[in-house]
Amino acid sequence: MSDNHPRQVLAEYVASGEQDRVLGEHWQHVRDCPICQRDLQRLRRVEVALRQWPMVSVPAMLNERLLAAARLPRSLEENYPRWTIWLPAVTVVIAIALALLLAPASLHVALNAPPQAAEPSLSFFALDREAGLALWIGMCVALAGIGVTMGLADSRMPDREDLDVLRTRASRAVEHAWRVATHSR
């Protein structure tokens, strides 16, 4: 139905306070068209209603809650950045340690391969399966640790219990991975 009637222009016209210049070339059509005139009446009612549209009232306790949130950053400064630094650092160290502990011999062989070897010696494929596995596990641990840390750091709700649980579980998972890695030798 809007093909022949400049409805967007009508909406703009009413919102502008009915300035004739907004109608432009459509002025005569709008004046003579009963459909546009009815549309105009409805748009005027919409405009009146929207200009008086009230915001929802704020709950009584919200102010206190927000002020409490405003006080959070200081404790965040003290607690969270440490997390964001040491957890990735620890996971990277674990990853390197895993690689070195599980396959020191293989790495040694790979790094000291004779120069006349047909293939370049320092390639991933030059390492044996054990070394490859170690590197793979190490990378997974590092990525997982960094991912968990970023998730925690990105969270804006540090007082939430579920995050504390998550933090504890992350620590346990890292400890568990460490034990598995050190006992697997």
């Binding site: 967007q8 919102a15 405003a70 804006r156």
Partner: protein, 196 residues
């Protein structure tokens, strides 16, 4: 009500001094900023999430983000514009995570037409002309979120077109077109209601 004063486009930022004090750790300034802006944040969250509890949680999340990011706020835009931007994006992210409804930012009149179709014969209250305003306000909550959002920013929060483009990251033409489509959708609601 001070919050109903339309933000002056291009004018000086009425909160600039408080913001500078807050950046230096002035707790009283923080409190005043919360006091003067919380209704915008809560109202915006409510209009997008359509749930009071969610809007409260969201308001808290928004202010935590704001305080964390405040040291980096240089005042390139007004604080209120910046706050609206954070609140809008946080609300939309929350909405997505709730998976109540996907928000299509691309122009989607199909969504709107679908909505208007679905209203025919629905459980909406019988229309009485004297209840025009309440009826129209109710219909806003049935529009797609992107229309409810621009209507909220323009009519309730009284942001200028320029500020809305900054908050939403959309071109001026798109903002104006969305506002017009939203107005027409509400006019169509009136037509449907009168036809019943």
């Amino acid at each position: 009500m001070p919050l109903r004063t339309r933000l002056q486009p291009g004018g000086s930022d009425p909160l600039a001094e408080l913001v500078e004090r807050a950046k230096l750790g002035d707790g009283d300034a923080l409190g005043q900023i919360v006091q003067r802006t919380q209704q915008w944040v809560y109202n915006l969250g409510y209009r997008i999430l359509r749930n009071r509890q969610e809007a409260e949680d969201l308001a808290q999340e928004v202010y935590v983000r704001v305080w964390r990011a405040l040291p980096g706020f240089r005042g390139d835009s007004k604080f209120t514009t910046w706050l609206h931007s954070i609140a809008t994006h946080a609300s939309l992210n929350r909405l997505r995570s709730l998976r109540r409804e996907s928000v299509a930012w691309a122009d989607s009149d199909e969504m709107l037409e679908h909505l208007l179709d679905s209203q025919q014969g629905s459980e909406s209250e019988p229309y009485v002309e004297s209840q025009d305003k309440e009826f129209i306000w109710q219909q806003v909550d049935r529009l797609p979120r992107k229309y409810a959002l621009v209507l909220t920013l323009f009519y309730q929060h009284e942001l200028s077109y320029q500020e809305i483009t900054e908050v939403l990251g959309l071109p001026l033409g798109t903002v104006k077109a969305q506002l017009n489509r939203a107005r027409l959708a509400l006019a169509d609601c009136l037509r449907e209601a009168n036809a019943e």
